[in-house]
Symmetry: D2
Subunit: 135 residues, 4 copies
């Protein structure tokens, strides 16, 4: 069992009907994607053709920040606010879509972009599935 | 002139028709609100009646994280993506609205909640004005 | 293979003699601990005895922020600066020690503190092992 | 009066003998430097000679993250831990020194690096002065 799912299981109050499995998946995909995007921005910086990767780096940095904040917001359950959760998930899905699309264009040339694009797709999917399960 | 506006003035490429004044105001309001919310969560923790402020603390923490990410995204202009900017600004306005409303309820009793609510209102307004100015 | 280790393997330049396994372990422990501490702060907020857990919440919040930054710094390899890496790892080990000690005091009463203390210990150990391996 | 100083003034408990003016200055310099470094990394990305600025971008990103975390840790006073505060301030001074040195090398050519180097110097000084005032 992952630490994120243990933390969810030991939360002392009611989780208010949220889909536990989708929530756990989204928290884990968010932190994983934040790390991948931070590393991908840096890997792009070390490519000889960095001048052609500046949009990719910028999108990586945005996606890392948005995923990081999403992972934090989803790790909190006290005083749950569905409106805020939805707005954050929408922003995260948008960031992952943008970064996944951008990294995919460089995936055949740069392995780090391929790995990162996959992390973005997983996180975007996890955000949309959690969004779909919210009342 | 603030550092944020100096950084905007020294950006070496085109800012793509964004309203500079509204952008600067939003960046500054975002960082200011992130700090206020972090401090307000901690001040609430030190109140004797902390048990009645747990929703306020949680909303403060979310708002700090979302404002922080918004300040970062808005500080970047390379490879601008209007969709992502809009989604982030919507999330930030939602977080500031939720936190401003919550802190306002405690404003007459706790001065830190009054100061924080004002920072949230300014940031929410700055986000909505920037949103309104985007094409 | 985890995403963090895939990102490390696909970095296009030289990693400069760093111990790959210790680096990967530290990146992963940092993100894991950041999530656990964020969740533990929130779980403490939902305990009836929250008034007795305010120091724990504060330490959780600090540790989450420091681990998050450490995970980001360690995910970058371009233009490596040993002095900065060391200072960040020292701060992270200190934050994890403080939070692990604090959570341990509540571990028999609150399961989330037990899980979080373990994550802090793993991250502190990973930081110290990486520190020890740096030239 | 700035919001940061208002938040400090409205903190409901004892600040434990910290130098209020030095603390306020350090919190404000930290957030200001975090913003400047985020913007400078992005400005570097938009320079034609980006390939010669990759170390600068990396140092900017590290400094932004460390300053952000420092601003957060210093905004909390509940359950104050001098050891952790010191370790975080040492890491922040190191990050600001590294980034100030790097940006200074490009200051005559890139105005954003000049403005950013100044923000880094102010933050490094503020960290060292606060460190010096701690018991």
């Amino acid at each position: 069992m992952t630490v994120a799912s243990q933390m969810l299981d030991t939360y002392p109050a009611d989780l208010g009907g949220v889909d536990r499995q989708k929530l756990t998946a989204c928290i884990e995909a968010g932190y994983e994607c934040a790390q991948a995007c931070t590393a991908c921005a840096d890997a792009c910086l070390s490519e000889e053709m960095v001048a052609e990767l500046t949009k990719c780096i910028r999108t990586n940095l945005d996606c890392a920040d948005v995923c990081d904040t999403t992972g934090r917001v989803l790790s909190r359950h006290t005083g749950y606010d569905a409106n805020l959760t939805r707005a954050v998930l929408e922003a995260c899905a948008a960031a992952c879509k943008a970064c996944g699309d951008e990294c995919e264009q460089h995936a055949s040339m740069h392995e780090h972009c391929r790995v990162c694009a996959e992390a973005c797709r997983r996180c975007e999917t996890a955000c949309r599935e959690l969004l779909g399960s919210l009342g």
